[in-house]
Amino acid sequence: MTTVEFRKDLFADERDDTLHEIGKPTIRQDILGHVTGRTPYFDDHLFDGLLHMRAVRSPHHHARIRNIDTSRAAVMPGVRRVVTARDVPVNLNTLLSLINFGRDDEPLCAHDKVRFLGETVAWIIADTERQARDAVAQVRVDYDPLPHVLDVEEALKPGAPLVNEVYPNNTFDYHGKYDHQKLRFGDVNAAFARADHIVEAEYQMSPIEQAPIETCGAIAAPEQNGRYVCHTNTQALFFSLGTTAKLLDMASSRLHFIGGTSGGGFGGKVDSIVEPTAVLGAVLTGRPVRFTWDRYEEMQVGAPRGGERWRIKDGVMADGSIIAREFTGFFDSGAYMRLSPYAIIKAAGHLPGPYSIPNIAANVFCVVTNRTPATAMRGFGITAADFAIECHMDRVSEVTGVDPIALRLKNAYRDGDMKAHRRVAKNTALIECCQVAAGKAGWPLSADLAAMTSLGGGQGDRALIPETATDEEGRIGERRAGRAPDTAPSKRPTGRVAAGQAGQAVVAVPVQNEDMQIEVDRIGHAIAASHGAPVASPAPTYARQAIAPQRTGADIVPPRPAAPPQAAPVAASRAAPPAYAPPSQQAAPSAYAPPPAAPTPPASPQAAPPAEKPYQPDRPFSRGVRKPGTSPFLSGTRRR
């Protein structure tokens, strides 16, 4: 056992010490099976007549596929089936489509062109793995190599090769408006002008492979009643199931996924590629099919943590207080988006790290290149940015001569401070961490630094959103047209948002459940109806406003009866936000929130139910059982 020291003297009044697991030795639930060799992994399900599936992979970073000749492979001994893109019912997907994020951009099997080295072009299903490998070697693919781009900033240049036609600017489109994610807080350019030092540096992180001991794999087999069982080591079972259902155009009730045990994942087993592939093989052959990556595939094709490049520019006063920080970030998403656009939003919310800096600007790009697509890995979106930030803090310390720990203590955020993404910081403990670390390392701290606390922040300007300079640079398509040469945040802001105001709120999908409603008092600002416009009632009660979602677009399902209004407030000290109530369709699209003076919920179907007709969805649920009369719980024959 490692010795863990609990500093219960810190934040003692924020805790009731009734923890049952933390701080006590406990046995991992699965360790007994692991150390006795009894844990069944997906690859231990050896079905009778198991077939083996192998992929034909692209040797080029970027090439058009002229022709695929599988005639020789098809007649090789043991070959049961040659599978190409034509056999995939819905051969276009993006991982986050299950939560309505991003556009479908990735085929399970390339058909028109390959966009990274190792991309799947076809599959072979054969009796043995060796026969499958031999047949793969006999598939002749006629490629027309295209120029490729492997560097994020090269990919942003106007003449760069177009990698993925779904994203014609080689960038993810944020909020339908910009080719990057913006973060603006205060006015960095004004702060730079009065700073004593400007510290600038660039940081580059390589892609990192998760390198699990067990490579990604799945075994799928037909069950009865048109159902398929799939044993997999996915880290995201229902994600994989939903993705498989979409790609194979199959009701999810026909898929029986069994997982929960993986020999290491670390984020590399969420991409849901092996599962649809194995199930596709089982569908096409009617036999159990195993599809597993070998080590080379795990390294070359398996998505890593993406490479990132960060440029940081700090404006620092002589005493070490950082008054402005500007970021330009580039995420290398590889050929397809997968989870990278989400990582960038996460990163933008994290900037500028655990520090209270009054002026922040960031442009973060999600760039498409001809590299292996990137995906999740332990804290992705945060780790590389933090590496850059902490390296930069040391650089600032060198330039100003302020002790590195003192510099961090001086700039550390405290409870109640306003963060750049307009959320109030809480449960911050950086100051205490630095003090304890300095104590352990025997690092001298002056008395006033040692007496600092992360409590009691948020005084004066620290709790407020400053007047913020905004710009409209980097609209979608401008960069490729050569009209937006600079990637860094704008030097010539064109708009200003008054202090205490956020910019334009981006309204996401309405919450499904009232307990998912964001606590209004954690959002330290009013939500303006339009860019920079003042709110209707600029009263101190602005924080009590409810956020009602904006509804646009014709394809949104009409509102169902909303949850009943909350009967009682949750806590006396905190006004509970009103329950989600959809505004009427006639409401002006800019009406984000009803004024707090009028708590009456807007007219909704709940008020006037449409008489005797029972509830009927306007279109059938796409992932449920389609066959009328079929029990959704029918599981076919019991597995032996």
């Binding site: 793995e129 060796r130 490998r133 031999d134 793969v136 070697a137 070998d294 080379y296």
Partner: protein
């Protein structure tokens, strides 16, 4: 294309059976990986029942049977000067299976033992009775036919022979570079042989550096000329462990450390 395994009673017969699409299997640490990955360049595997794992003194040298594993080398007192080399190859499982004969054919980044044998000017004995010096054997190994039955290594003192394997993952990483030195002379260097592993398709000698060391002593000014030319004649390549540029940049650094190492 199925894979067949042919077993022969003697090394000589096994040697004759090796053809274009056949591989001889010793410990299998390299060959079985190729089998698992469906290597299309061979479909026959040849095995000999006669395996020479002996290590014994023979005249001025030590004769090591081609079937001797790295673990055998480590267990032999006669091959004591080669223990630092055998010890850093693979992990225990690889050392128990990997043979000296197989290491002679290992492509970069493997073949650390062959690098040491090149520096020591070993002689390779083939199944057909021919003997070849290590250097010409390595330069022609892609076209080589037949089987190696043994290598004979001149016996050197631990003071004369130095070896360094530079890897980024310790203790079991593949070499980013391996350096073997055979330095003769007391005080001044009368003759030097320097071999680099993973600095080309096969282990290679740094002949310009050998020349530059002759008559010098092992001090920083004494070796400066050799360090300056140590990459002459080497052909490092980019691979996942390091770029050619990086290898060229750090080769003099590692050579310097090995030369100035206090004994």
């Amino acid at each position: 294309m199925s894979l067949s395994v042919e077993t022969y009673p003697t090394l000589r017969e096994a040697s004759q059976a090796i053809g274009d699409r056949a591989r001889y299997i010793g410990g299998g640490t390299l060959l079985m990986r190729a089998v698992n990955y469906g290597d299309q360049s061979f479909d026959r595997i040849v095995i000999s029942r006669e395996i020479d794992r002996t290590i014994r003194n023979e005249g001025q040298g030590v004769r090591i049977g081609a079937g001797a594993t790295m673990a055998d080398v480590l267990a032999s007192r006669d091959a004591g000067f080669l223990h630092p080399v055998a010890r850093v190859i693979g992990g225990p499982a690889v050392r128990n299976m990997g043979t000296v004969g197989g290491n002679l054919f290992a492509a970069a980044p493997f073949g650390d033992f062959a690098t040491a044998l090149l520096a020591l000017d070993a002689t390779v004995q083939m199944a057909d009775g021919q003997n070849q010096p290590m250097e010409s054997f390595l330069s022609g190994r892609d076209r080589a036919r037949g089987l190696v039955v043994a290598v004979t290594v001149p016996r050197v003192s631990e003071r004369e022979f130095r070896f360094a394997k530079i890897s980024r993952v310790k203790p079991k990483g593949a070499s980013m570079m391996a350096i073997a030195l055979w330095l003769r002379g007391s005080g001044r260097i009368d003759e030097a042989r320097i071999a680099f592993g993973t600095m080309g398709p096969t282990p290679l000698r740094a002949k310009a550096a050998e020349q530059a060391l002759r008559g010098r002593d092992l001090t920083e000014p004494g070796i400066a000329a050799a360090l300056a030319v140590c990459c002459d004649g080497l052909q490092p390549a980019d691979d996942p462990l390091a770029t050619a540029w990086y290898r060229r940049a750090v080769a003099p650094v590692h050579l310097k450390r090995l030369l100035l190492e206090t004994r």
